[in-house]
């Protein structure tokens, strides 16, 4: 029995649930404070010792579960059946190459961002709640990556939506609640589209257990092929919601600005990938790529993905709120991955998998930077970041490296994945998309440079005095108090604490280093691609 692979799933889930429940426990004992905590929504400031214990506990749980997850992922194929939902539908975990890949980058990002949050969440408060859900989501994500059939995947996909929602509504302001609702509705709509498809696949597939190359039974299908194509398209659209594919991308730019920065980082870097994983599993492991090759589904999918790549970049370029800009960037980048998958060619799939990994690190790094800007000097808009590099050069350097990687400037990592994506488009026999794809990718890369690099450039080189003095004049129009605030911020805002800087540096370094030494990873991704096609 490989029962121990359940440890990285259940340990964080139980620990997270215990953290959340324990809060209730104290509320019961001391009803007055509990009341205040619940009713007024104001965080009860936790004492320093309590916080330290909390951090220690969360850190230990995260570390141990991540170790177990990695051990499970890299020690060969393992499987375990939890129980049977129906006679022929088990809740079943099996670790294969894709699952191992996803679990690995999920775990790395999760631990790094967790360390970062120990510092960052001081300013958001309600840490017990945050870390409770943070652990819960980690367990659910590991389960999602390990799931061995479509129904298990769906179950944890829904659980992930539900448990990650509290991360979005963390500060419980009106905007946060509305954003969380929007997030939940989009996710649920998407998931139900997916479920709708699962019902069909259940009927027409030999098994819903993931099998490389698909399990569709063409004999059973008979004349219902057209209908099944609709169902498959619904599934792509539905699971694409999580990956921010047009027309259902709107939850990303709403949810990110209100969520605490570490939550945005994992939301963008990891949870978006859950949508990618679901689409990947459906197309390559259940339906089979041959079924949709050359059909209208493939065409529509490619068009939507390309459109999203372009529109996402364009919207990001026009956006002035920093975190929103990054959210739109995620919309665009996640569709790079979906485009790679839609090509149904080996290079395309390789590129998509590589980009999943790279984007996870890069986008977490970018959001962590945004978090540092907010934490250290409360700046959320891009134009406020002028001259920020003078005060925190290390942070901005990390940002710059990550940005370069995302744009795809060699030798940083983004270049490699985009190279494979473009190559995939050229070698896949997809007509007009063969050249249109690379062109759109290029334009989007230019736009990416256009929306990320100015932050660096203006950050290090704030520009001529004339311009700054004009801004100063504008500032003076504002109230005296505002100026004092700005003064205070200026004094306060230096380089962040090591606890925030180190995870950021690790992420940024990974983004660059994976581009310098990509050999093993490429080989691994190519092996997966060869297996499913």
């Amino acid at each position: 029995m490989d029962g121990w692979i359940l440890i990285p799933i259940f340990l964080p889930v139980i620990a997270g649930a215990a953290l959340l429940a324990f809060r209730r426990g104290t509320a019961g004992k001391n009803s007055d404070t509990g009341m205040e905590d619940g009713m007024s929504g104001k965080a009860q400031p936790e004492s320093a010792g309590e916080l330290k214990r909390l951090h220690l506990l969360v850190g230990a749980v995260l570390f141990v579960s991540a170790l177990f997850a990695l051990a499970a992922a890299w020690s060969g194929e393992r499987q375990v059946t939890l129980f049977y939902l129906m006679a022929d539908i088990p809740i079943y975990f099996r670790i294969d190459q894709v699952g191992a890949l996803f679990v690995t980058f999920t775990s790395i990002v999760w631990v790094a961002v967790g360390v970062y949050s120990f510092v960052y969440m001081k300013h958001e408060g309600r840490e017990r709640q945050f870390f409770g859900f943070y652990l819960l989501v980690y367990g659910v994500l590991v389960a999602l990556d390990f799931s061995g059939n479509l129904v298990t995947l769906y179950m944890f996909y829904e659980l992930m939506s539900l448990t990650s929602m509290p991360l979005v509504l963390h500060n419980r302001s009106r905007e946060a609640v509305m954003a969380a609702l929007k997030y939940l509705f989009y996710s649920m709509c998407g998931a139900y589209c997916g479920l709708f498809g699962i019902f069909f696949l259940y009927k027409y597939c030999d098994t819903l257990t993931f099998t490389a190359g698909g399990t569709l039974n063409l004999l059973l299908l008979g004349e219902n092929g057209g209908l099944l194509l609709v169902a498959v398209f619904m599934m792509i659209l539905g699971f694409g919601v999580k990956a921010g594919m047009l027309p259902m991308h709107a939850w990303l730019p709403t949810a990110h600005p209100v969520a605490p920065s570490p939550a945005s980082a994992v939301l963008s870097g990891i949870i978006v990938k859950a949508g990618v994983l679901a689409v990947f599993r459906v197309i390559y492991y259940v339906v089979g790529p041959e079924f949709i090759r050359g059909t209208w589904v493939q065409t529509a999918w490619m068009s939507l993905a390309l459109l999203t790549v372009f529109m996402g970049s364009l919207l990001a370029y026009r956006e002035k709120v920093f975190k929103k800009r990054l959210a739109y960037s995620t919309v665009s980048q996640a569709s790079y991955i979906l485009f790679g998958l839609s090509l149904l060619s080996e290079a395309g799939v390789t590129g998509a998998l590589l980009h999943s990994v790279f984007h996870a690190f890069i986008k977490s790094a970018l959001f962590l930077t945004a978090g540092i800007f907010i934490f250290q000097c409360g700046k959320t808009r891009v134009e406020e970041l002028r001259g920020i590099g003078k005060r925190m050069p290390k942070t901005l350097w990390c940002f710059t490296f990550a940005a370069l990687a995302l744009i795809g400037i060699p030798p940083a990592s983004g270049f490699i994945s985009k190279w494979y994506l473009a190559q995939g488009a050229l070698e896949a026999n997809v007509g007009v998309f063969g050249w249109l794809g690379p062109v759109v990718l290029l334009i989007s890369a230019l736009l990416t440079a256009g929306y990320l690099l100015p932050v660096t450039v203006r950050g290090f080189f704030p520009g001529s005095r004339a311009e700054t003095s004009k801004e100063k004049a504008e500032n003076e129009l504002g109230a005296q108090a505002g100026q004092e605030d700005a003064e205070a911020v200026r004094e306060h805002g230096g380089e962040p604490a090591l606890g925030m800087l180190v995870p950021l540096a690790v992420m940024a370094a990974l983004a660059v280093l994976l581009g310098l030494f990509p050999g093993a990873l490429i080989e691994y991704a190519a092996r997966i691609a060869a297996a499913v096609l």
Binding site: M35, G38, M39, L85, L159, F199
Partner: protein
């Protein structure tokens, strides 16, 4: 030779009925204790019966009195019947437990006795509907059921409930009337009242090709009658008031048991009286299918518009009953299994929702304003958790029983007939609509309240204050999760029962 266990169904019906009669001579407290005792006894007896029938592997017939078929009166007990009886008892116990406190507050001291009498009678009639093998007995108990249900609605006396009870009475009597007329037709056609004998007669008629129209009319009358009584759209107008304003135990019982009793009778008529094949050939089943679909959408739409949370839950019942009829209307074994499973899952979820909602309202100064529920989940934690679980189950979230029933429905719908697409699409749309109003409420009850002025009016309800309520809700949650995760044996049992049923 009769095994002693075989007597239990008869004992259950009779003991409930006598408990009602004896209670009328007792005081409130005594009636309550008697009611509890009888319900517990019936639960145990049903469980034993279930075990016995599962061992036996087939259903048995229990002859009432000395006349044998085709004149005498019979009970017929199979796995499905025993399972239903057990289940109904458990839900009844939990609903009463959860609604007890509210009952004491809302109902005058002198009338509480009456309430327990009504519950006893209702239980006895439900059990009779489940077990009986005689159409006329079924009709008689339908009437008893109606009258006691009216009593349950009216027990909290204010304008709204009286109006609701009157409405319920009128609609229900119309339904019973139609059922009776259908019954008369069938009697005229076949000359029998025992279900198995009617079935033989019907098969004979169909083989001969005679009396096609009268037979169809009879089926239509009975289906319509029972559809009205179980609040299938568009006959649901009595439901929101009846569920929304009566005392919470009544709402829970009415929504989860009373309407389900009628649906069970309908399934019985379909399987045992008319015969599944005949029904399938008639187009009536398609009509049920279409109205089921309409109910799924319209019920949810009305629920979205509703701001009174209890009426909202009531409207959601309309949608859920639509699901059940949709499953019946599919006209397949799988559809029927899904429907029966949904009867159970809806009963568990809906009674929990009603009790949880009442707990939340209590923590919000019993206001009907939706916004007063803000933060209620923090003020009454058990109710908040139970409401969340119930909502997720209704929305069809994996792990809870609502998901299992949806899975079963979908599995039944994907069979390639023309009903597949409409069923799946409406299932998807209705799920989304459900998500809109249930998630809206869940978020609302967990949104912290920031207005001190309002806060003063509300109070916090701890677990210690309502221990019974707490226990009931925890049981409901557990039942929900068990049905959601471990549905497989139950589905097998229901399948088995349905086979035994015909």
């Amino acid at each position: 030779m009769l095994d002693f266990v075989q007597n239990f169904p008869c004992f259950s019906i009779v003991s409930c009925m006598f408990a009602g009669i004896i209670s009328s001579a007792l005081k409130g407290k005594g009636a309550k204790i008697l009611n509890l005792g009888v319900l517990l006894a019936v639960t145990v007896m049903s469980a034993l019966t279930l075990g016995y029938v599962m061992d036996l592997g087939e259903s048995y017939i229990y002859v009432m009195g000395t006349f044998s078929a085709p004149w005498g009166n019979e009970l017929r007990v199979g796995v499905l019947e025993a399972a239903m009886a057990l289940f109904f008892c458990v839900i009844m116990l939990l609903s009463l437990m959860g609604g007890q406190q509210k009952l004491q507050e809302e109902v005058e001291e002198g009338k509480q006795k009456l309430y327990y009498i009504m519950v006893d009678l209702l239980m006895s009639s439900l059990l009779a509907l489940i077990y009986t093998n005689d159409m006329f007995t079924a009709y008689v108990f339908v009437e008893i059921n109606t009258i006691s249900a009216c009593g349950l609605i009216m027990i909290r006396q204010w304008g709204r409930t009286i109006e609701a009870a009157t409405r319920y009475m009128i609609m229900s009597l119309l339904g019973s009337g139609l059922l009776l007329m259908g019954l008369v037709f069938l009697y005229g056609l076949t000359g029998h009242l025992l279900m198995s004998n009617i079935h033989q007669g019907v098969v004979h008629i169909v083989e001969q090709g005679e009396y096609h129209i009268p037979l169809m009319v009879a089926i239509a009358l009975m289906c319509t009658g029972l559809a009205i009584k179980s609040a299938l759209f568009p006959f649901h107008s009595w439901l929101p008031d009846a569920y929304g304003y009566s005392t919470v135990a009544s709402s829970a019982i009415l929504s989860s048991l009373v309407s389900k009793g009628y649906i069970f009778l309908l399934i019985k008529i379909i399987y045992r009286v008319i015969g599944f094949d005949v029904i399938q050939q008639s187009k009536i089943i398609n009509v049920l299918f279409v109205f089921g679909l309409a109910g799924m959408i319209m019920g949810s739409l009305s629920a979205i518009k509703e701001s009174n949370i209890r009426r909202m839950i009531a409207f959601s019942s309309v949608a859920q009953i639509g699901y059940i009829y949709m499953g019946i209307g599919l006209g397949t074994e799988a559809g029927m299994t899904a429907s029966v499973f949904h009867v159970l899952s809806h009963a568990v979820t809906k009674s929990m929702l009603f009790i949880a909602a009442s707990g939340l309202l209590q923590a919000s100064g019993d206001s009907t304003d939706f916004f007063d529920l803000t933060g209620a989940g923090f003020r009454n934690k058990t109710a908040g958790a139970a409401f969340t679980v119930g909502s997720l189950s209704m929305v069809g979230f994996p792990m809870f029983c609502g998901f299992t029933s949806k899975l079963l429905f979908a599995r039944a719908a994907v069979d390639g007939s023309w009903k597949m697409l409409p069923a799946l699409i409406v299932l998807a749309v209705s799920t989304l609509l459900n998500a809109i109003y249930f998630m809206k409420t869940v978020i609302r009850i967990y949104t912290p309240l920031r207005e001190p002025a309002r806060e003063k009016r509300f109070r916090k309800i701890g677990i210690g204050e309502q221990p019974m309520n707490f226990v009931a809700l925890i049981c409901f949650i557990l039942l929900n999760v068990v049905l959601g995760l471990g549905a497989e044996p139950l589905v097998a049992l229901l399948n088995n029962g349905l086979k035994m049923f015909a």
